[in-house]
């Protein structure tokens, strides 16, 4: 009985955190964004200014959850030699175990935009804030949605932002990962920017897909962002890189140390002596 009561209380606290989160988003959307739209005519400057404000709101959201012993977010030290964030624009890919991975990554690293589903981008309450922050519309059912996404992402990269894409396309299943889609890797290859894989963990598992937010674990969920070695710009074939990064993150999931993706496997398969199967570079 006592346990059920404690569980219900934690559920309520998590729900309150998300209530404040959405209330804050609606507030910023309809107060700050119109002002930024007038002050900053240049879109990249507006994106930056908006992100500075939103990141403070994320900090508050995370601090609230930390103080209530619900969720704690930290960036773990990078495992490899090149695991620091690449200088300049890059594509960031990550597994997606929890509901707050996006805020965790955006709050931990400056000038990052992410790909957001179209329905949210066009949402009456918060769409304005997402657009003002420079996030990319993931597209609807347009036949050319993929091509539009690549162009939109390129505009952010040109402005010096990092573009965050979850290659699974949705939240990861508990303890695992969905197969990766190639889009993020195509964006990085076509824009000739580095690709930076992040490995996220949440212990104990919380805020995962299919689990209501009020079923929060009794212990504080510790989210850790583990940067892994960046894949240098222009050195990879998208299809091979996708396979290799998925393999790398699956190894991380199994608890193996995140060994860097092997260079030959990432090399452009058009190059002589490639280890890749034919057809890997057809795109």
């Amino acid at each position: 009985m006592q346990r059920a009561f404690a569980q219900a209380c934690r559920g309520l606290l998590v729900a309150s955190a998300f209530f404040f989160f959405w209330a804050g988003a609606v507030f910023l959307s309809w107060t700050v964004c119109p002002v930024l739209g007038i002050v900053y005519r240049e879109e990249a400057a507006r994106w930056r200014a908006c992100q500075r404000i939103v990141n403070r709101a994320f900090w508050l959201f995370h601090a609230y959850m930390r103080v209530l012993a619900l969720v704690e977010i930290r960036v773990a030290p990078g495992a490899g030699e090149n695991s620091a964030r690449p200088a300049g624009p890059c594509v960031v890919v990550a597994n997606h175990p929890t509901l707050v991975d996006v805020t965790a990554i955006l709050a931990s690293f400056e000038n990052v935009v992410c790909v957001v589903k179209s329905s949210l981008m066009n949402n009456f309450f918060v769409g304005r804030l997402l657009r003002c922050s420079g996030h990319v519309d993931g597209g609807g059912n347009e036949a050319m949605a993929g091509a539009i996404l690549v162009q939109e992402a390129q505009r952010r990269l040109d402005a010096g932002f990092a573009v965050l894409i979850f290659p699974e396309g949705t939240r990861s299943p508990p303890g695992g990962m969905h197969p990766f889609r190639r889009g993020a890797f195509e964006v990085a290859r076509r824009a000739a920017v580095p690709l930076w894989p992040l490995f996220l963990t949440c212990n104990p598992s919380a805020l995962s897909k299919g689990v209501p937010v009020w079923k929060h674990p009794a212990k504080m969920a510790r989210i850790r962002i583990h940067p892994t070695d960046a894949v240098p710009a222009g050195s990879f074939d998208a299809r091979a890189c996708c396979v290799e990064v998925e393999r790398l993150l699956r190894e991380c999931l199994k608890g193996a140390p995140p060994a860097p993706a092997s260079a030959p496997a990432l090399a452009d398969s058009k190059a002589a002596g490639s280890v890749l199967a034919p057809g890997a570079a057809e795109s």
Partner: protein, 84 residues
């Protein structure tokens, strides 16, 4: 270049790039539903359109593309614009 020639070229390229039976590609074929092109194929197709026309296609123009006929129209429009 007339519209028929553009269609023939588009048909040939789509068949070649995406391993689609050329006979099944009609003007009214929908890229996603009928020809089974996914979002990555769309990226490749957009790149091919830009290669063929030598012009960067606007995102707003890509939004309206649904069928092979739309692709042909887009190429014709872009070529007419760049020829001016």
């Amino acid at each position: 270049v007339n519209r028929g020639e553009i269609f023939a070229e588009v048909k040939r390229r789509i068949a070649e790039m995406f391993d689609v039976d050329a006979d099944s590609i009609q003007e009214e074929s929908r890229l996603r539903e009928d020809l089974d092109l996914d979002s990555i194929d769309a990226i490749d197709l957009a790149v091919k359109i830009q290669e063929l026309t030598g012009v960067r296609v606007q995102e707003s123009e890509l939004r309206d593309v649904r069928t092979v006929s739309d692709v042909v129209d887009l190429i014709a429009r872009v070529m007419a614009r760049s020829a001016r």
